[in-house]
């Protein structure tokens, strides 16, 4: 049979297996390798909350989807071209994500009677049972081939079985015409210090997987995705949580203030704390607190003492921090609170993504308690979003809530590395002189309603802050008129932030029938959906909000330019309700989804076409 390499614009590959099968590693290696090759790229890890969920069960399936293209790629893809299923449960859980012409690669050794029953199959033909028997099925005895490949390696059986993912990755590399060099280099780097003996076996099994796929008569054609032609420069791959941590470090450098992060581990935000803990060389101090409340309270203390203070969390943790958020608003101290949202309420589905904390971010505090809320829209954008959150916090003397999402935090994309010289210097309003009475007034304000910052240690500026209402001089006051004044001024200070953020940029005509609106991590999916419907001749404009509270200055003008405004979000309409409250005359429609999963582009195109 003649072997052809077919050029394709993009492919989506989904690696799925037991949570201990190494699918996250196989997927991320494939992604990194493709990034370095120059492909456009987006990834989506989809894993269970349990570290080692019951073996062979559907609840224990861990998946990693990677979408590569010969142009920039803005979503991890709805459906896959190749599904790797390391056991029947992985097939059961993921067959629905296969395209009509997809290839399905399974480990035959795992498809025994016991495995099928555990996954919930009732017959001996899982493919027919799932109605995927007409796809391109590759049933390979991956476990036994891996064992055969490594029988002389000296590794014990357990260690050998751990290499199954490399065999599979080798097969995928053949199918998608990827050279193995990058992975070889990765293995050498990873094992060089602690397990040099593991380098050779891993390389061998990878090679054997590649060759096995080449010799197998079942893969007549392989596919090639040419490199994209991105802008010139140096690139790297980055996850959202890493970018968030680095953006905060950038703000620390640009403000000249040491970074302090007080946090408590919580999925899916923990990697931000982990990442900051590594970079002590940039002066970052991290404190793993005894609980979420101590996380934010140590950060508030650090802010009072003059650091760029940060706390990172997810929805349930944000609930616990609520009272302290009010304290930061009242004491008018700079603070960045990062919420990497996950499916709620309560513990919800910790490893799955949602945008359901918006109401909590906007309103979840006692009293009149405004603080800016901003959102990141892609893994790499988390860098700028975190930098901007810190800049607003430090220059406007306010806590700022940065909303990220599990989908962004864990997802990755190639990133044209920026230069710090292109980022602005951050200038906090440090107190320099005392008023006539010789005492520092902690709540006197400038034209933007921003108070000055006097940091303990500054001689002559001794003053008290705290949760009780005070007057401009910082003296306790329960005077009715003073309370109204202070409430109004704290609100005005946050509203003034709108003068310092960019206006909305409409993609498409500024007036028309339908405007599609998104915020946060739905950016890529909405962008792709709008491009798709336009290709079909549908007229539609699009706008995306990075700044939620306050909204950009031109928001009303933009919304009122359209007969219909369709707000697409991964909740039951929280942003839509918010916009309706702000702009009651706009015709705002909702399209929401609350399944712990990102949008599918196909869902969005359908919803858009219905309204267009």
């Amino acid at each position: 049979m003649e072997h052809k390499i077919i050029d394709v614009a993009d492919v989506v590959i989904r690696f799925a297996g037991d949570s201990g099968d190494g699918m996250q590693l196989a997927g991320s290696l494939f992604a990194d390798m493709s990034a370095i090759y120059g492909n456009g790229l987006s990834t989506f890890p989809d894993y269970p909350a349990e570290i080692r969920a019951p073996h062979g069960t559907v609840s224990g399936v861990s998946g990693f989807q990677v979408h590569i293209g010969d142009d920039s790629v803005s979503t991890p893809g709805d459906f896959c071209d190749l599904l790797v299923a390391m056991n029947p449960a992985a097939l059961m859980a993921n067959a629905k994500w296969c395209k009509r012409n997809a290839m399905i690669l399974v480990d035959a050794d795992a498809f025994d009677e016991a495995g099928l029953r555990k996954a919930g199959f009732t017959t001996d033909d899982p493919f027919a049972e799932l109605k995927v028997q007409d796809r391109n099925l590759i049933v390979a005895p991956i476990t036994s081939l891996t064992e055969e490949s490594l029988k002389d390696s000296g590794l014990d059986r357990k260690a050998i079985l751990k290499c199954k993912n490399m065999f599979t990755l080798g097969m995928a590399c053949f199918i998608y015409d990827r050279p193995l060099d990058y992975i070889f280099q990765y293995l050498e780097r990873k094992f060089a210090k602690k397990h040099p003996e593991a380098i050779a076996p891993n390389k061998k099994v990878l090679n054997d997987g590649f060759n096995y796929a080449a010799n197998l008569q079942m893969i007549p054609d392989t596919y090639h995705v040419a490199p994209a032609h991105p802008r010139k420069g140096t690139y790297r791959n980055i996850t959202g949580n890493q970018a968030t941590a680095w953006g905060l470090l950038a703000a620390s450098e640009k403000s000249g203030l040491p970074l302090f992060c007080g946090s408590y581990p919580i999925t899916p935000a923990t990697q931000i704390l982990e990442e900051l803990a590594i970079h002590k060389s940039l002066g970052a101090k991290t404190l793993q607190a005894e609980d979420e409340i101590a996380g934010i309270c140590t950060a508030i203390g650090a802010s009072y003492a003059g650091n760029l203070a940060v706390t990172t969390t997810s929805g349930p943790g944000l609930s616990l921090k609520t009272e302290a958020l009010g304290l930061a608003v009242m004491a008018e101290l700079p603070l960045v609170v990062v919420d990497v949202q996950r499916a709620g309420p309560s513990t919800g589905i910790p490893t799955k993504t949602e945008q359901t904390d918006l109401n909590q971010a906007l309103y979840g505090r006692n009293g009149e308690c405004p603080m800016p809320v901003i959102a990141a829209h892609s893994p790499a954008h988390c860098f700028d979003a975190a930098f901007n959150a810190a800049k607003i916090a430090l220059e406007h003397m306010t806590p700022v809530l940065l909303l990220s999402e599990g989908f962004l935090g864990n997802g990755s994309e190639p990133w044209l590395i920026p230069s710090m010289k292109d980022y602005p210097v951050i200038k906090p309003p440090f107190a320099k002189s005392l008023p006539e009475d010789g005492k520092f007034h902690p709540f006197d304000r400038d034209e933007n309603f921003v108070p000055e910052w006097a940091i303990p240690g500054q001689k002559g500026f001794e003053h008290r802050v705290g949760g009780l209402e005070k007057n401009h001089k910082g003296v306790l006051s329960s005077d009715p008129a003073n309370h109204q004044l202070m409430v109004d001024e704290r609100e005005a200070k946050v509203q003034k932030v709108a003068d310092f953020i960019p206006e909305l940029a409409v993609d498409g005509p500024a007036k028309g029938k339908l405007l599609v609106v998104g915020w946060g991590g739905t950016f890529g999916h909405i962008y792709s959906a709008v491009e798709e419907v336009r290709a079909e001749g549908v007229q539609v404009s699009r706008v995306h909000f990075d700044y939620i509270y306050p909204v950009p200055r031109n928001t009303e003008e933009v919304l009122m330019g359209f007969e219909k405004v369709l707000v697409c979000e991964l909740n039951s309409g929280q942003f839509a309700n918010y916009l309706r409250g702000l702009f009651p005359k706009a015709n705002i429609l909702k399209f929401g989804k609350v399944q712990g999963q990102p949008f599918l582009v196909s869902e969005l195109t359908e919803a858009i076409k219905k309204e267009a």
Partner: protein, 339 residues
């Protein structure tokens, strides 16, 4: 450096505690202790930060002319921790009540002690919730009749000393609101201690729990019901200084000097600096009627402090790392060029 006095630490705010409240005396003691501390350690006034939570005693920062942070209920210890880690040069004092530190803030309290962060915690223990007008607290005596326990509590109180020492605290001292001299003495010792210092101040709530510590404060009773411990001195007490503590092989015991063959030489000498936490625990746990209540510095030992540890690790990593700027960070690890 100008010499600081009592007046330098007094703010212009009107003190609003009830007349006769024990907190007045603790405030005065602190305002008298800090000039001495400043003298001993060459501290300027701007170096002090006074932090508190919520409750009657937590109003204290407003009455001190220093940097101050009156925070939220139970969280003072976490805020103090953040301040000290962010800037170890600052000297942090904290005022908190028994409800504030041991109920709602119990978690932060034990973890600050475990970490041995260099802050000075004054724990005002009046065994009652005062600001909410008279509910029982985690230190109220078993059976205490309060607004929320009209038939008496059915729960055991914490002894703050056991809690501190159980968390392997490096400094614990106890005093009474009215003992101004002793207060100053332990506050000064706490300031000199490098690590987490907890000072339990037994205070009188004149409105909701008047006389809770009467057995210890009444001039006629206190000499027999309390013992003031000082490092290197024998554990002798009593109106006639004729009673002392010995260790009988199993536990502490009160003996009369000159009776049963016991002489002054048999009485224990207080060693606040010994690592042996058992003896300090036994001393902190003593209560009437069988034992005197121990006052003074019960434990004062050296150990690594959290704030030093964090600072030193940052310095160390800074020296060893190749990454010294964000630009270097962004280019670290795997990158690739697009021509």
């Amino acid at each position: 450096m100008a010499t600081l006095s009592f007046k330098d630490f007094k703010s212009d705010q009107e003190v609003r505690w009830c007349p006769g409240c024990g907190d007045h005396a603790v405030l005065a003691s602190l305002q008298r202790a800090l000039p001495k501390v400043s003298q001993a350690l060459s501290y300027e006034k701007e170096r002090y930060v006074v932090v508190s939570g919520i409750g009657c005693s937590s109003r204290l920062p407003y009455y001190m002319d220093t940097y101050g942070f009156h925070s939220i209920h139970g969280r003072a210890t976490a805020i103090s921790t953040g301040i000290k880690v962010a800037n170890p040069w600052l000297t942090v004092w904290q005022a908190c009540g028994d409800g504030d530190a041991l109920a709602i803030g119990g978690n932060h309290f034990i973890h600050a002690i475990r970490r041995n962060i260099d802050i000075n915690i004054i724990l005002f223990n009046n065994q009652i919730y005062g600001l909410t007008k008279g509910q029982y607290s985690p230190t109220s005596k078993f059976g205490a009749i309060t607004k929320t326990s009209p038939y008496g509590t059915v729960e055991h109180p914490f002894n703050p000393g056991s809690l501190v020492l159980g968390a392997k605290g490096t400094f614990f001292a106890r005093s009474l609101d009215v003992e101004l001299k002793l207060n100053e003495e332990i506050m000064t010792a706490a300031a000199l201690h490098d690590g987490c210092s907890v000072m339990e101040m037994l205070t009188n709530c004149v409105i909701f729990n008047d006389g809770a510590h009467k057995q210890l404060s009444d001039p006629a009773l206190k000499a027999d019901n309390t013992i003031v411990l000082r490092h290197g001195e024998r554990m002798i007490f009593g109106k006639d200084r004729d009673k002392g503590l010995i260790f009988d092989g199993k536990k502490l015991r009160v003996v009369h000097i000159g009776e049963g063959g016991f002489t002054e030489e048999d009485i224990l000498i207080h060693d606040a600096h010994t690592d042996n936490i058992g003896i300090h625990m036994a001393l902190a746990d003593m209560k009437g009627p069988d034992y005197p209540v121990a006052l003074g510095v019960i434990r004062d030992v050296r150990d690594i402090t959290y704030d030093d540890g964090v600072r030193d690790q940052v310095k160390d990593v800074m020296q060893k790392s190749k990454i010294h700027s964000v630009d270097e960070l962004l280019h670290s690890g795997s990158t690739w060029e697009v021509e």
